[in-house]
């Protein structure tokens, strides 16, 4: 039954795409939950994570990657990009957002937009590095091929029309434990408790002896690190990176966060899976050129009937 195969294929593709979006979306939703900032720079931070990963690969040498050495390289990249993006996000908060804690929400937003522009420009410069992986730096702005470390073999057998590859496995193997770990941090640790308290009422949290600046810093660090993990998974799954990839990735993730109910982590994951699936189904059964319209159309419809998103709680707006 060919149409069944086709449908199953779309499910696999949609869910894998959705899980990658989810990792980025959590970064948005965490920061939003704690300081009510739509962190425009988050998508571009994610982009820089991918550039770091590709640079590392270039430094490790681009030989024949297979078996254990390939998986070792994946682990090194994951750790390095997560550390890098976490630290960078923390630094951006220090320099660009922290001085504006008492200013209006929208000044903060403009600062984030400024940070986003700077990160995009750094990505352009980075793409011009004189390394083989960047084509020697001649075409700084061009999209870069990300080597296929993870094989594209079909785990269901080469005859099967449906493709399920180690790439799809990788996406789930990395994202699911990360999400479980994160949920544990937020619900079970002291830091998590402090984060929730700060999100609910920063003044009261400070009165209770919580160092809210440290808590906010930690939130940026964790959110950034998730962006870093996502950047490596994205790169290994799609095999192309470019200095402009943060825009769409950021927009999808932000939409997912809002769709699920901004501030809610399970919501962000649910929203991301919905977006991944809708994109796949629309590409496959309708026309690609209408996919964006359908995604945002569904978003508007859902919000009209559920104004706080899929899993968001009905909280009075803080203005």
């Amino acid at each position: 039954m060919e149409w069944v195969d086709f449908f199953l294929q779309q499910l696999i593709t949609g869910l894998s795409n959705g899980m990658i979006i989810a990792l980025i979306a959590i970064g948005y939703t965490m920061v939003y939950g704690i300081i009510e900032l739509i962190n425009f720079a988050h998508g571009d931070l994610f982009m820089l994570g991918a550039f770091l990963a590709l640079t590392l690969l270039g430094m490790l040498g681009l030989g024949d990657w297979s078996g254990a050495s390939a998986w070792a390289a994946v682990v090194i990249m994951l750790i390095a990009s997560a550390g890098f993006c976490g630290a960078l996000n923390w630094g951006i908060d220090r320099l660009a957002y922290k001085p504006l804690r008492s200013a209006s929400k929208l000044s903060l937003l403009v600062s984030a937009i400024g940070a986003s522009f700077i990160l995009v420009n750094l990505g352009l410069f980075w793409g011009g590095l004189p390394m083989d992986v960047f084509a020697g730096g001649v075409a700084a702005a061009a999209p870069k091929d990300f080597p296929a470390l993870v094989p594209n073999t079909n785990l269901l057998g080469e005859e099967s029309l449906v493709q399920f590859t180690p790439k799809d496995v990788l996406v789930w193997v990395v994202t699911v434990p990360l999400m479980i770990g994160l949920t544990w941090i937020v619900t079970r640790t002291r830091l998590g408790k402090a984060m929730r308290a700060t999100a609910q009422n920063p003044v009261a949290a400070r009165l209770m002896g919580i160092d809210t600046d440290r808590v906010i810093g930690a939130t940026f660090l964790i959110g950034g690190a998730l962006g870093g993990f996502a950047s490596v998974i994205y790169s290994l799954y799609n095999n192309t990176i470019s200095f402009q990839m943060g825009y769409r990735a950021g927009m999808d993730a932000f939409t997912a966060a809002v769709l699920g109910g901004i501030g809610s982590m399970p919501g962000a994951v649910a929203g991301a899976l919905v977006i991944g699936l809708v994109r796949s189904m629309s590409d496959a059964y309708l026309e690609t050129r209408w996919t964006n319209t359908i995604v945002f159309g569904i978003l508007v419809l859902i919000l009209i009937f559920r104004p706080s998103g899929l899993l968001g709680s009905r909280v009075k707006e803080k203005v």
Binding site: T13, A139, A141, N154, T240, S242, T288, R289
Partner: protein, 406 residues
Amino acid sequence: MTQNLPMLAAALALAFSASALAQSGTLKIVSSLPRTGSANAQTGTIVNGIRMAIAEVGGKIDGYEIAYEDWDDASPQRGNWDPTVEAQNANKAVTDPAIVGYIGTFNSGAAKIAMPELNKAGLVMISPANTYSGLTKPGMGEANEPAIYRPSGSINYFRVVPTDDLQGPVAAEHVAGSGAKKVFILHDRELYGKGIADVFQKRAKELGLEVAGFEGIDTKASNYKSLCQKVKFSKADAVFFGGTTQSNGGQVAKDLRSVGFTGMLVVPDGCREEAFIQAAGASNLEGNTFVTFGGLPPEQLTGRGAEFCAGYRTMFGTEPEAYAVYGYEAARVLLDAIKRAPTKDRAAILKAVAETKDFDGALGIWSFDSNGDTTNRVFSISSVKDGKFVFERRAGDAPAEGTKAK
């Protein structure tokens, strides 16, 4: 003399003003190309080509200094060509009397903005990259094209690249000639990509190919796996992608292969650059990917073309890319006209460009026809082997009368 200080000051002031520069022997050429953002890679090679052509004449023609300015028609907000900036550039060029030639634009949409302005000022414009047919050819685009770009009634716009209405059919004939029966057509919804996909489809149907699908892609998507699976399940044995490296051609090629599509992929000259191979990954293009290109690729060129390649390598230390030749050719044909023009003003230079005939260029020997198009109709088809473009064969019409091929 010393008593005449005010006069001296006035003369000095005059020497620094733009109008005085023209009299004192400087002719300025500008290019207006998107230099901020993603097209930067291709426009960089065009600018190199222009600089090289100017360096070859020693930066001087008949005692006149040739100055060159590399203008950007993109803005950081857009990351791509910006109509406002292109309009500004056109205005800036018109009002600076020292400027005698405008090389540009890269995007056909931008040309539509600049053309009427430059036309009214009688400033010659030579594009190294616009391929949208409606800019020059009556009956190919809208009913009012190309007249709306020529408010003065005469022609000031020329291009050194063959147009989409010629290139699309070359690609369709290649697909049909390979024995394919069913083709899936993708395009990037841009003026260039959609335009060439439209003519491809028309020719493909004439040749009896079955068109399995015709779809515009979302150029900012992270991947096209679902779309490519649709292509695979449609059992098409060839795909044509109308678009460029910038409109994500590399990702399309990559995802076609990653979902297990094994048929032929054909792309137009917007993808004929190293950056496309870089983006797609060499192994994904190996063997069954074909690129059409107006003119012969650099390494196949003889005579002037071969000299160009050697010179480019020495000057910039890299291999010339497809667009470098166009930039070089556009600048050379302009410099040649400046040399032939009896007086070095806009009108005389425009007239000299229009009279260009049997020009011994890097792309062969060619002329400008009455629409301002190149008579060069030689196309080439290349494939990709070991991460390099490899010339396969010549294609397209013989050159129109009045020219002979090399």
